[in-house]
Amino acid sequence: MSVNVLNAGLLTTVQDIGRTGSQKFGVLVSGAMDSYSMRIANLLVGNAEREGVLEITLFGTKLQFEEDTLIAITGGDLQTTIDGIPVANWRPVLVKKGAVLKFGFAIEGCRAYLAIAGGLDIPVVMDSKSTYMVAGIGGFKGRALQQNDQLSFGKMTESNEKVFKLIEREGTPDWAVPHHPLISLESTQTVRIIEGTEYKHFDEASKQLLVHEPYVVTPQSNRMGLRLEGQALSLTEKIEMLSEGVTFGTIQLPPNGKPIILMADRQTAGGYPKIGQVITADLGSLSQVKPNAKLYFKLITHAEAERELIAKEELINQIKIGIQHKLHY
């Protein structure tokens, strides 16, 4: 049971919820950029929520399936087709043996997630299947997919079988997971932040610029970080910083004053002042912005950030129940 890579596209990697627990050894967390989409893709095919999926970036990936396979595609809309016929996202879909799944250009969002029933049959390294490209570990041979790679998937579990049989019998469902409450695929976004650990060391003008001026995502952005172009920000005076922990969504300021938002492949520690922190609930949407997208930041309180996160987790629980309900009746 495997899928053949006819065209790898711009960047296609295996990602799951991330490699936690080894940051103290300098090992990056990695994981899906938009973990909300990744988790829903898995739930739709009956996988465990944290199973490895393919993260497909912007365009060009083409895959051929060697068996009848149950899949789900979530995240950005990359105009996906199966043998030339458009595929509906955010719902389980059956792919016939020999069929070609093709990702076109992203018309909404930046990254699509492909979950395959049974999960990906690749070794778990330090508790995760995520690709850690710099160290060459995890994922498929520690690297992005290449043409002619053959990726095996696991045996279907009872819960995969249940979805498979239903879709085989009834065809692609006429329902889909409403993704708007989870992620935004808009090209201009307002991202909510809370104050960073060095916020108070920034001058008043910089604090105002941060929440009133747009910042543009430059093409130098990648899975490690989004490099932003816009008004430079500055500290009231130079501060002595020692390296310390950073996380997904940390907005740090290198000496040139242009913010960098740390993303999934961030380093485990950093020594630049941190002006803000994107709230966890908005990281999925932020991960869907394309190069040249415009970002606006909105400052909220820590307690609000926690409430947003809890609300989204509860929404995922409801979606989980909803999917089970659809599959039983």
Partner: protein
Amino acid sequence: MTVPKSLDIKVLGDSAIIIQLGEGIHPSIHQQVKNLSYLLEEYPFDGFIESVPAYNSLAVYYSPYVVHQSKNGFQLDGTPLEKVTDYIQTLAAQISELPVTEGRLVEIPVLYGGEFGPDLHIVAETHGMTIEEVIEIHTTPEYLVYMIGFAPGFPFLGGLDERIATPRKLTPRTSIPPGSVGIAGKQTGVYPLETPGGWQIIGRTPTDLFMPDMSPPSLLQSGDKIKFCPMTQEEYDAQKKVKTCQ
């Protein structure tokens, strides 16, 4: 060992905090970082994900949703942040109960100079020393591993003799081979993986610092001590897979 009266807690987003245990780089502050990290690993709260030690701080990553749902071990019914900080305050009160621990001493053999240490002569010239003097000074101290970061297995060390502190290269190299031992300002360290970098490279070790198939994957851990010792080309070739100085 003194207990921090009230912990200085910085909020790193909605899912992590940084506990600051002092200012600057001192072994005694780092001992507290290590003790708190140990206590958290031994007595994790519901929702705890991991902790990452740095020079004078400990980053703690957690799931606010799990904390929100859990009643286990939390005295408070507050927000996730309140519950976590309250838990850690209570735990930190026990730091003084822990004995001062000595980290392991790991010896790292280094082939200094030549093609493996292309900048050794720059360090010597900068300080008006002979190459032998630089090697002598670099191999004398026991360096304390304050943190692992930047790259997997990469140690941030304290204890470099100021007499051989040397500024970074003006133009960083695009690629430094794994095992390279370098100096940058008052820091010294070893590159576990091939990366770009601006450090003055003075030698190379055959010892692996990052072993993804091992548990733990890093040869060094925060709190360990390391000592560099010189080796010859013959020993380097012969001991490429042996992890000792002998």
